[in-house]
């Protein structure tokens, strides 16, 4: 019986586990931030418009984060600082950004 309960718990925890690059490498840090991750997306959208330009701008920043090319306003940069350079490989970073785009893009969401 104990064995069965253990297996069930393991399956459930595996199902609920954060398996994607985005979920594993982006969400954990952003969850604790005062500015939520969706607000970052909308700021990028406001400045760069199309999918390709948004993703290019994000890639550029994540690979070489600097206060000058951050999307955040100066006040927030001063308060939270600039993040560390990404350790993800290009393919992983692309996958994470694709997931991020799919989650918040507005094309299918407007009614």
């Amino acid at each position: 019986m104990v064995k069965k309960v253990l297996i069930f718990t393991l399956v459930i925890s595996c199902l609920g586990a954060k398996t994607g690059v985005y979920e594993k490498n982006c969400i954990p840090c952003h969850e604790d931030m005062a500015v939520k991750i969706d607000k970052f997306f909308y700021r990028y959208l406001l400045k760069y418009s199309s999918e390709m330009e948004v993703k290019n701008a994000m890639t550029k920043y994540l690979k070489n984060p600097k206060a000058e090319n951050s999307i955040l306003v100066d006040g927030l940069i001063n308060r939270f600082g600039v993040k560390k350079k990404t350790t993800l490989r290009d393919t992983e970073l692309q996958e994470a950004l694709d997931t991020y785009w799919d989650q918040y893009q507005v094309f299918d969401k407007l009614k």
Binding site: Y42, K47, Y48, S49, E51, V106, L110, K111
Partner: protein, 395 residues
């Protein structure tokens, strides 16, 4: 000298064809120019109308942008695209991909500023901040309802006025163009008229004096000479008759009577007998009896004379002429030089001559055609070059 009053100048079919071509070309060019001017005018009117709408549309666009801004800020909570009953709108990202649209069409030219299509005005504006990722916003409003109607009414009115003026100008232009041609024809006609007048008295004097002579009392040489004079005089007399008909045809009233065609044909063959003789032409004829036609005697005589005269004139020395009278037609066949196939249609035109080696004005068949037309007779001309011509008059 005769006066040229009531003188009709008949333009021949080739000239009429030229005139028709000129008029067609003139009308076509006029319409082409008018269409071009109308196109330019329409463009100007359209631009003016769009210019008048620009400010209103710009204000409406700003209102919509404010709503997009509000939606962008509240995007997590609100997802309904702002709509307005005064216009339809759409937003596009910087790669020109449509984000959302309430427009009636999917084809929008984002490179234009403002344009008119299918009675709808499209106003395009680039956003400074890309709310919802939108770089371009498009507003669609119906064009003012009576605008196009007004423009087309104006275009039609002015177009018709200008076209009428150009047609009048074209008419005068045509007059100028035709003047030299008319003058040439008038000159030729006047010459014939004057010649005709001067021919009458001497020809009559010669013929009546010859008739008064008793040829049997003269020796053979003189008699032969007199015969030649008779032939020449009859030729001139025939020509005189043709010219008289040509000049006065519209003034001569027809006196129709029932004519025995056999009798008339025999009379005319007898009249031309000396001419047949002079060219050693072998005449054969088959004339059925009891065939009558109600027609003016002078005109029927003229018709037959002209065909016979041509048959003799263009025949070769020692040739043949065959005359057949049947209940429905008269056929006169000769062994002359014939007419080229391509020229047969022109044979009935006045002053048309194919062979200038023999005398004449080229009016014979023109007279035949004119008389045939008056009495609804059918004239059929069959000819083989260098072999001969057959003229068939049927009724």
């Amino acid at each position: 000298m005769l006066v040229l009053k009531n003188w009709d100048i008949n333009l021949r079919s080739r000239e009429k064809k030229t005139l028709r071509s000129f008029l067609f070309l003139y009308a076509f060019l006029t319409l082409l120019i008018l269409a071009f001017v109308a196109f330019l005018y329409y463009g100007l009117e359209r631009d003016l109308m769009l210019q008048n709408q620009r400010e209103t549309l710009s204000n409406l666009t700003n209102e919509q942008i404010a709503r997009l801004k509000s939606l962008h800020v509240n995007l997590g909570k609100e997802q309904t695209y702002p709509r307005d009953e005064r216009f339809n709108s759409a937003i596009y990202d910087s790669s020109l991909k449509q984000i959302f649209s309430t427009l009636g069409t999917h084809k929008v030219n984002l490179y234009e500023d403002i344009y008119l299509k299918a009675d709808r005005i499209y106003f395009i504006k680039e956003l400074e901040s890309y709310y919802l990722g939108a770089r371009y916003i498009v507003l669609e409003v119906p064009a003012p309802p009576t605008w196009s109607e007004k423009v087309f009414r104006k275009l039609l009115g002015y177009g018709a006025l200008i076209f009428s003026i150009l047609v009048v100008i074209g008419y005068f232009l045509l007059g100028l163009l035709l003047r030299p041609m008319k003058e040439t024809i008038a000159l030729l006609d006047r010459f014939i008229k004057d010649t005709t007048h001067e021919l009458n008295t001497p020809v009559n004097a010669i013929l009546s004096n010859i008739e008064m002579m008793d040829l049997h009392t003269l020796d053979e040489t003189v008699s032969k000479k007199i015969k030649r004079i008779t032939i020449a005089s009859k030729t001139i007399s025939n020509l005189y008759d043709d010219l008289t008909y040509l000049v006065l045809s519209h003034k001569i009233l027809s006196q129709d009577e029932t004519i025995d065609l056999k009798v008339l044909l025999e009379e005319r063959l007898e009249y031309f007998s000396l001419l047949f003789e002079s060219k050693k032409i072998q005449l054969s004829y088959s004339l059925e009896e009891g065939i009558y036609l109600t027609i003016d005697r002078k005109k029927m005589t003229k018709l037959i004379d002209n065909i016979l005269s041509n048959a003799i004139k263009y025949n070769k020395m020692g040739g043949m002429i065959e005359v057949v009278l049947s209940p429905q037609s008269i056929t006169i066949k000769d062994s002359g030089r014939g007419i080229d196939k391509n020229q047969i249609d022109q044979a009935f035109e006045r002053y048309t001559r194919f062979d200038r080696s023999v005398g004449g004005f080229g009016i014979g068949l023109s007279i035949v055609a004119s008389i045939a037309k008056e009495y609804a007779l059918h004239v059929k001309l069959d000819s083989v070059l260098h072999e001969g011509t057959t003229v068939r008059i049927s009724w």
